[in-house]
């Protein structure tokens, strides 16, 4: 076959056309995110049953294996868990008392208690596979009441926010994504800043923290609720490193360790504000 045969030439021309078209699409969709999100709504419907079935099979196989392995030492583990349960129950009683007192005090102060949000459980069915974006696909969507901008949390803290919703699945932008931003505060000192995804995998950075603020390694960082997206008081992570910002001496450069282990997420809760919005 000649190197410059008509077929090769035709393929080169089509390649050039498709390459330019792909670049044009990239540039356009980067400027108008709504295009990709609308396509995701359609694609989400098509992919969800396939991904869920695959996921069910693989998870089932892995769970069976884990259960078999975990049988070893299960009696000892059960004894320890029973002791731990007793401790937690006692602690829980105290917490209920504190919660009730907190509720009464808030009412006395005239603060609004945000009890009309709904918490929707969901399974993680797939994870994004790019260095540049960090995302998850979860098993519930519009049909269950999920909406764009709803907050996603796990038992250990903040996970991210919903960026696209199809009828039966949703795309979650993780807080570790470089394009994510969360208004946050340090629990101990109340210093404020913005938490964004770090450049290294899974790291978080807290930007715009006033350099006069006193911070310590291990301080817990929570959502401030001031961005209007994430509810107040959700744990984001702990301070792992404090340095000087490379761009300005006015701010600290704070690296956080996320409280959630994103590589082991199986179940999440979607905090849906729909009831509140419809009020």
């Amino acid at each position: 076959m000649s190197y410059f045969s008509p077929l090769n030439f035709k393929i080169l021309i089509h390649s050039l056309f498709l390459f330019v078209l792909a670049l044009f699409l990239s540039a356009n969709t980067a400027q108008r995110p709504s295009i990709a999100r609308n396509i995701f709504v359609v694609w989400g419907e098509i992919q969800a049953p396939f991904v869920e079935s695959f996921n069910f099979l693989i998870s089932g196989a892995m769970n069976s294996w884990n259960r078999y392995v975990n049988l070893i030492g299960v009696a000892e583990k059960a004894r320890l868990l029973e002791m731990r349960l007793a401790e937690v129950e006692a602690h829980n009683l105290q917490m209920l008392e504190v919660e009730s007192e907190n509720h009464r005090l808030k009412q006395l102060l005239g603060l609004r208690v945000d009890s009309n949000k709904s918490y929707l459980p969901a399974r993680v069915i797939a994870a994004g596979s790019s260095i540049w974006t960090r995302s998850l696909i979860i098993s519930i969507g519009k049909a269950e009441g999920v909406a764009v901008s709803d907050t996603v949390i796990s038992s250990s803290g903040l996970v991210g926010q919903i960026v696209a919703v199809s009828n039966s699945s949703s795309l979650v932008l993780l807080i570790t994504d470089p394009q994510s931003g969360v208004d946050a505060l340090v629990q101990r000192s109340r210093a404020r800043g913005v938490v964004v995804g770090g450049e290294a995998n899974g790291n978080l950075e807290m930007l715009y923290v006033d350099s006069r603020e006193e911070l310590s390694i291990g301080d817990r960082v929570l959502t401030s609720g001031l961005d209007g997206v994430f509810p107040k008081g959700i744990l984001i992570g702990q301070i792992a490193e404090i340095g000087e910002s490379s761009t300005s001496a006015l701010f600290h450069k704070v690296t956080l360790l996320a409280s959630t282990d994103f590589s082991r997420l199986e179940e999440v809760l979607v905090v849906s504000g729909q009831k509140e919005k419809s009020d």
Partner: protein, 160 residues
């Protein structure tokens, strides 16, 4: 059309496999990108436009499931990988494992660079990423090359 559909569905299987792989093993610079391997895999089929259009459509879907809102880099990188495998590898080093690895490394580098060009304006510094992106390209190249090389010997020589 039939040829395109077959390749398109093979591509979709790779997309789903990648999504599930990343659910169980969090994606990092050591995780092979199965999409790049898929682009290489298509080079086993005889040269044809159906390969290119399958790469383009599957690339768009891969970008869609990857996360956010930018459609196109996977498709653009796919075209480059396919061209480099189809023309350079076939013409110069037709049956060489190293050539497969190099083509896949090159494709990964292009893929990462295209994403960087688009996201670069968000304040990302290429030099911070460079060592990790090089590592990513090496991993994709070697693992993808191995998969393709052994795949080729299992499936048989179709087009090389």
């Amino acid at each position: 059309m039939r040829s395109f559909l077959i390749k398109f569905f093979i591509g979709l299987a790779f997309v789903f496999a990648q999504l599930l792989l990343c659910k169980f093993i969090a994606y990092n610079y050591f995780t092979p990108n199965l999409m790049i391997v898929f682009y290489g895999f298509l080079a086993y089929f005889p040269l044809g436009l159906s390969n290119l259009y399958a790469i383009f459509t599957v690339g768009i879907i891969a970008d869609l499931t990857n996360g956010l809102n930018i459609l196109g880099p996977s498709a653009a990188a796919g075209v480059i990988v396919y061209l480099s495998l189809s023309f350079v590898v076939r013409a110069l080093l037709s049956d060489h494992f190293i050539a497969l690895c190099l083509a896949l490394m090159f494709g990964t580098a292009i893929f990462n660079f295209l994403y960087f060009l688009i996201l670069g304006s968000e304040g990302l510094n290429l030099f911070n990423f460079l060592p990790k992106l090089t590592l990513n390209a090496l991993v994709n190249g070697v693992l993808g090359g191995l998969a393709l090389y052994f795949g080729k010997h299992l499936v048989g020589k179709q087009s090389y």
